[in-house]
């Protein structure tokens, strides 16, 4: 996967998480996965199709998701209800929106799907014939992994 695809997502995740959560966001070591991998509990997936195709997943534990929702809503949220799901979906929207602006500026043309939210335990993700780059972000409210699998359209 070309690195220019991932940088905009990492930068956007860093910017938006810093803006909406406050505090220091630490970027962990980037790693590559080409086989199936576990998903932590709450995963917001945005699909891309155009000059490039693939998907981006924002993956976190349910506790982290609830911490983030509580911060973004300025109130304690204990269950992943409709409002909490809308909050995580909106977070994914904001990050992909900013990343796509950057990629469009670089000349890539593609559309995005609205975020789909997956929740549950012991989920596993398998991408067929596309490797995924994962960037862990330590937010202070828990870890969010930005999982990007994009390739040139064949």
């Amino acid at each position: 996967m070309r690195v220019e695809y991932i940088n905009p997502f990492v930068e956007a995740a860093y910017n938006i998480l810093t803006e909406v959560l406050g505090g220091e966001i630490k970027r962990g070591e980037l790693y590559l996965k080409s086989t199936s991998m576990p998903v932590m509990g709450v995963a917001a997936l945005v699909g891309l199709a155009g000059d490039v195709e693939g998907r981006v997943i924002f993956d976190m534990s349910i506790d982290t998701a609830l911490n983030i929702c509580s911060r973004m809503n300025n109130e304690e949220m204990k269950v992943l209800d409709e409002m909490a799901k809308a909050t995580i979906t909106e977070l994914a929207n904001m990050i992909t929106g900013q990343a796509v602006t950057k990629l469009h500026d670089l000349g890539f043309r593609f559309d995005l799907t609205p975020p789909a939210l997956f929740t549950g335990e012991k989920m596993e993700l398998s991408d067929h014939k596309v490797e995924a780059l994962i960037v862990p972000m330590e937010t202070g409210l828990g870890k969010v992994e930005v999982n990007v699998a994009i390739r040139d359209r064949m």
Partner: protein, 145 residues
């Protein structure tokens, strides 16, 4: 006992969402995200605005505007929504009421759509994530405050 009257009222100011005659500006919020609708509602009501209705898609937004006109002073309009997008809803509201005050709410990456909306008659736009100060400034400027 010290009462409020003992302090000079140097910090008092009228909330932005209320007219000189004490009546609140009425806002219709059109957004498919519960989270964003709630966020806009909280920001606006904290300054005295009245959110008279919310709509979860463009079609519902146009219907509610037509129903409530002229008792809506301002509409906040999301761009990407199911059933009818915010640009089409804006067009229909402007065709119904050329004096409608619509402010677009956009994620980054939709510059072309925002430009189109401004050409179609939207009065201003706000980019998410929503910043309280920015939201209030833009809305107050559209209402001529």
């Amino acid at each position: 006992m010290i009462s409020k009257q003992d302090f000079p009222a140097i910090n008092e100011r009228a909330p932005e969402g209320v007219r000189a005659d004490g009546v609140a500006f009425k806002v219709l919020v059109v957004d498919d995200s519960m989270f964003v609708a709630k966020q806009i509602g909280q920001i606006l009501t904290s300054e005295g605005y009245e959110v008279v209705a919310t709509a979860g898609d463009g079609l519902d937004g146009v219907e509610k505007y037509k129903e409530m006109c002229p008792n809506v002073d301002l509409v906040t309009m999301d761009i990407t929504m199911p059933k009818m997008d915010g640009i089409t809803a804006l067009e229909q509201i402007m065709a119904f009421d050329k004096n409608a005050k619509v402010v677009m709410i956009s994620a980054l990456g939709k510059e072309e759509l925002v430009k189109k909306a401004l050409l179609l008659g939207a009065k201003n736009y706000i980019v998410k994530p929503l910043d309280r100060k920015k939201v209030l400034e833009r809305i107050a400027s559209v209402l001529g405050k």
